[in-house]
């Protein structure tokens, strides 16, 4: 399953524009008009965690912080709530990066679930302190679904880096 674990396949260097594109696309996904947002995975968080694990030197903590602020403003929630969660998640992903990449996809998924749940718990705690009421346990369904998406997502997002370096023009496919 872990066809792109380290040592098995050398990936091309990532295109920074592709990182930007995935982040913006994930933001779009997040601001879609969902009817009930509790069970909708926070795709932006997953994408941030993905790049913070894969490219800790490109996606540090500053970019997630700014994206979190944009999410806060777009959703009209407490300014800093997503920023806090995203920076902590990016920090965890950055520091655990080498460890996580050592594992195969199932174990990676478990790690990512832990990171995402930490972020969700942080946001939950912040809102509880700010005086909101409990939104129901389906609030924690989002990270579960997001973590379940991890194998698919990491396959898709690494696809541009798995292209052959020199394309053979005469190849049939």
């Amino acid at each position: 399953m872990a066809i792109y674990a380290p040592g098995q396949r050398i990936l091309l260097p990532v295109n920074p524009w592709f990182i930007a594109f995935t982040l913006v696309a994930a933001f779009f996904f997040n601001v879609l008009p969902w009817r009930d947002v509790r069970a909708v995975p926070d795709l932006l968080a997953v994408v941030i965690v993905f790049w913070a694990i894969r490219e800790p030197r490109k996606i540090g903590i500053g970019i997630p912080f700014v994206l979190g602020l944009v999410m806060d403003a777009a959703n009209g929630v407490l300014l800093g709530q997503h920023a806090l969660a995203y920076s902590v998640m990016a920090f965890m992903a950055n520091t655990l990066s080498r460890r996580i990449l050592w594992f195969g996809l199932p174990a990676q998924t478990v790690h990512v679930l832990g990171i995402l749940l930490t972020g969700q718990l942080l946001m939950f705690g912040v809102r509880m302190i700010a005086g909101a009421s409990f939104p129901g346990f389906s609030y924690f369904l989002g990270p579960l679904i997001a973590a379940a998406l991890w194998p698919v997502l990491s396959f898709l997002m690494l696809a541009p880096q798995r292209r052959p370096e020199s394309v053979d023009e005469t190849r049939p496919i």
Partner: protein, 303 residues
């Protein structure tokens, strides 16, 4: 004499330092946002910047809706047309009586030398999306302060009161629904004129009439309208219907649940009204408060 390592090993501050900085920064932002509201300009800049992106995201859905409308079957339209025609007839009858009643009202008001209630000019708006915040019930509408929306305006739809404008940006504004936990609205029972305050509940689906005694005269299916005594909501807008009354003698108060009439899940068009021009003067609660102050002054001057 240079003993520093070459700059390509330099990765800036340690990650722990950086995350501490950003965590402290976000906590700082949250505190000043929640307590002092100093962050409104920053929020407005971010929201206005994100607005075109959000509209771009929504465009395909709106287009799909329009295409769906276009291909709506003729039969549907015909039945709808017939319904509308009968409704129009009924409304015409109401309108005629309304004209008579309005004239009579104006005469009576003239007699009473009362101020004519200002007819509120309304702004038509459309709900763009529901706020992606599972903790709070809010919707965002497509009119902002460039279209004349300001804070505190009541918002209604065809069925009843939707909520109140609580945040305004140049092109969009945020409406807190009447079912929001921290929202309350003064209401009146149509059947007997009883006044009460309907509070939002934490689950965000219903409202509650609090602090009413157990033997209060409220029944199931009682209709509630705004009483207009808060100076925000004009009088007589339908709010909701009582769906449950628990009279449990072990509690001091009756538990009365109200289901709102307005349906933000069902329809997208809303009207943003102007709040009442002049809030009624506050009742004379200052009189007893003045006396001890006077006494204190007197005592101070004595001593």
């Amino acid at each position: 004499m240079e003993h520093a390592p070459p700059p390509f090993f330099n990765r800036g501050p340690a990650p722990v330092v950086r995350v501490t900085f950003f965590v402290l920064l976000s906590v700082f932002l949250m505190v000043i946002d929640a307590r002092f509201r100093y962050t409104e300009p920053l929020r407005q800049v971010l929201m206005t910047a994100a607005y075109p992106l959000q509209r771009a995201v929504l465009a395909p859905f709106e287009a799909a809706g329009r295409i769906g409308d276009y291909f709506q079957s003729l039969a549907d339209l015909q039945t709808e047309n017939a319904e509308l025609r009968t409704e129009k007839l009924k409304a015409a009858q109401d309108l005629m009586t309304l004209e008579a009643v309005r004239a009579e009202n104006a005469r009576l008001r003239g007699l009473l030398d009362a101020r004519d209630r200002a007819r509120s000019d309304a702004v038509f708006a459309e709900i763009i999306y529901g706020s992606r915040d599972p903790f709070a019930r809010r919707v965002v509408i497509d009119k902002g302060f460039t279209q004349g929306i300001d804070l505190g305006r009541p918002v209604i739809d065809t069925a009843g009161v939707v909520g109140q404008v609580t945040r305004v940006t140049p092109l969009a504004s945020e409406v807190t629904l009447i079912t929001h936990k921290d929202h309350s609205i003064p209401v009146q029972v149509v059947r007997n004129g009883l006044r009460a305050i309907a509070y939002g509940t934490s689950d965000g689906a219903a409202m509650e009439l609090r602090h009413l005694p157990i033997n209060i005269d409220v029944q199931n299916d009682d209709e509630l309208i705004t009483s207009g005594i808060d100076g925000v909501y004009p009088q007589g807008l339908p709010v909701g219907k009582v769906t449950r009354v628990d009279r449990d003698a072990t509690f001091s108060f009756a538990r009365i649940l109200v289901t709102p009439l307005a349906g933000t899940d069902r329809q997208r068009q809303v009207l943003v009204l102007r709040p009442l021009e002049e809030a009624p003067p506050y009742p004379a609660a200052e009189e007893p408060a003045k006396k001890p102050a006077k006494g204190k002054k007197a005592r101070r001057s004595e001593g």
